[in-house]
Symmetry: C2
Subunit: 457 residues, 2 copies
Amino acid sequence: MTLDKFFNPKSVAIIGATEDPNNITSVVITNLIEMGFTGNLVPVNPHHDEVFGLKCYASLLDVKELIDITVISIPSGLVPEVLRQQARCGIKNAIVLSGGFAESGHKGAVLEEEVKTICKEEGIRLIGPNCIGVLDNYSNFSTSFLPWTKVKRPGKGNLGILSQSGSYVVSMMDMLSLEGIGVSKVVSYGNRVDVGESELIEYLTDDESTRVIGIYMESVDDGRRFIKASGNCTRSKHIVALKAGRQDSGIEAAKSHTGAIAGKYEIYKAAFKKSGIVEVYGLAEFMDACKVLSMQKPAKGNKVLVLTNGGGFGVSVSDLCGDTGLDVAPTPESIRDTLSKKFPEYFILKNPIDMTGSSGDEDYGTAMKSALVNNDFFDAAIIIPLMPPHTMTEGVVDIISQMSKESGIPVVICMVSGVYTGEIKKKFEEKGLPVFPTPERCVKAMSVLVERGRMNG
Amino acid sequence: MTLDKFFNPKSVAIIGATEDPNNITSVVITNLIEMGFTGNLVPVNPHHDEVFGLKCYASLLDVKELIDITVISIPSGLVPEVLRQQARCGIKNAIVLSGGFAESGHKGAVLEEEVKTICKEEGIRLIGPNCIGVLDNYSNFSTSFLPWTKVKRPGKGNLGILSQSGSYVVSMMDMLSLEGIGVSKVVSYGNRVDVGESELIEYLTDDESTRVIGIYMESVDDGRRFIKASGNCTRSKHIVALKAGRQDSGIEAAKSHTGAIAGKYEIYKAAFKKSGIVEVYGLAEFMDACKVLSMQKPAKGNKVLVLTNGGGFGVSVSDLCGDTGLDVAPTPESIRDTLSKKFPEYFILKNPIDMTGSSGDEDYGTAMKSALVNNDFFDAAIIIPLMPPHTMTEGVVDIISQMSKESGIPVVICMVSGVYTGEIKKKFEEKGLPVFPTPERCVKAMSVLVERGRMNG
């Protein structure tokens, strides 16, 4: 059985639908309308005849047309009854946004068990409860109940996000929009009574629009299945995981949060390694790893060229490469010979190649051509084009991008974020070159490409 | 002798002045005009009669008026002669922007020695060579030769920046502007033949407009003096240091960059500790440490309240607190009792206090009042107000800010960066509450306040 209907339903019943702006169903519906969702929307609520101009039904049992999925946002105590109704109508899929289940104490936990039993008995597939649900950026379907005015919807891309935490999913969408990183599918599965990350990874492995999967997890649904699904997935795609609940303090918090038994962290660590998953430890690192893997390919080795017009950045990046096991290998004699004929005496040719503040656009082309295109010594390159000197113009974007292509190796850009540099960053990323705003984030991103290269063999 | 004339000169001779946009003196002059520098600008260049409408002199020897300082940007070989001329004119201060000294090989090193000797013999104080020089945001004096259109000038503030690397200074200004962090004075001293960080620290210790000093260093000018000056400074102010050249790869790069012998890193580490300096390892961390110290006071202990409406963030922040030695101490019974009467059953009251996505502005006030204002159990607080729920409005800024003031403890905000949240971030920071865009950066910033508190206490 496939999860397709969760992402691309033809008809959706919104249970509890209302126009009341304080009720989240009103946001779900207005979001869908704003996104241009072309499927059929069917509001269900005994208190209304019409919602946002759509005919509203008193009960699911009154709906004549075929419904692919229900989106349920009603007090938790009423959820079991709705699920039973939808079973009678032959509706096989549900996304339960409502909270008030295991996360809220004993009574909720009992209710959650009931929901689980109904799903099993009736063959209903369910995402949630206590979640944001889904966003499919290609079908324009979403159950997010946060207005797109407050949380900007990210553009289309090849990144899929899976998360136990709703707040993480929302924050990630916000950050991804601002960063200009596109997503394919997003799933917040909350208390995970049925559909969980393992099955979603299996599904996304076959999803053409997804190339990289980023997961925020506090616990795992099924360890064995997770390792098998991930290991299979990472043969052709990439998975990045942020495991929350590593420290005692975090494990305690996770237990309160989603009722998750976070488990022994070391076991997760070993499972990630075994499955070819890149583990990260922070939100920016998560974003950066997803971004670099979605834009560049893994490196074949760890010999990295560092090329810059700012000496201080060369020093910092070299330090950080040392910290993360990247080899700032000395520039081979042959390359130095070639470059010494083309460059002024005061350019520093050992790695880092520091062309000083008096270099310009064309010098980047010259250095990259000799060091990377006509030579296969380096496995990857970190390019740090500082823009302030008047000799540096946006023309450098085309030059670096062209040489990167010709080199055939992964290239990442370090460029601090300012007002003017923000514009240049955009241009680099339009050309497929990921830009990171600090030496530490840039080196970390490169180390992800090297790590993935090593895993692949 | 004081360094005042470097920051607030009444009259400045620009040696090598021209309107040629490819010559950096033209940028220095236009920058100064744009900043509204009110001192006297005196261009010196035998090839021009007038530069930007200012009378231009063939030689320093022709200038009749009193000159406080020269700004020298001419080929390095001509610098010694100009220094001798200025000595004859009784001009006691110079900033040499020109490169072509020790960083460029043997010939340059000899020239640099000559410059050093002249300074000693003639009693000339010199910043540089091979540097960006200074920015004083209160006197509106700067020798930066990067146009403010490409590198936005940061606003006025209490942060002083000292750096051996010019590219770091420039990048930092760009980042600080974007972040809205204000600076007092910035000094890039490059090859440091005379004025170095130790003396600058002594100077800034007495500078009323500076509260926090951030230093990028590859090497130290005078170890003993540095420790003494820093130790003295950190009794009333804060110093944050980023030491580049820690790893073999970085030490090699530093040697090529500023000719700096980076020295044994462990010695620096010990010196920083001894002097009350906060050491950081990356550019973002540098910015964040400077920012948090300029906006909040050190914490008296390590017991941190974590308050949020997003459970996942509570978990992550708890993990990271565990990583950095912050104690997410369980909420005392008395506070839990009080809050359990005011809050719905499903709010989680142990630390982190997770008020879930259904809480709103006022709940933040309620929680902070009970946990922080009417109780002195916690030493500090990390507040994570996620804005997407409709119950969260910008009104939360005033509430959190008011409670922070009443609590008397340091408070930092974690708020991911998106389009809408960017606006709220600004409002928080206008109220003096620093906002950090990820759990990891927020916890790290808080750990700086705890570390400084421990040092002082």
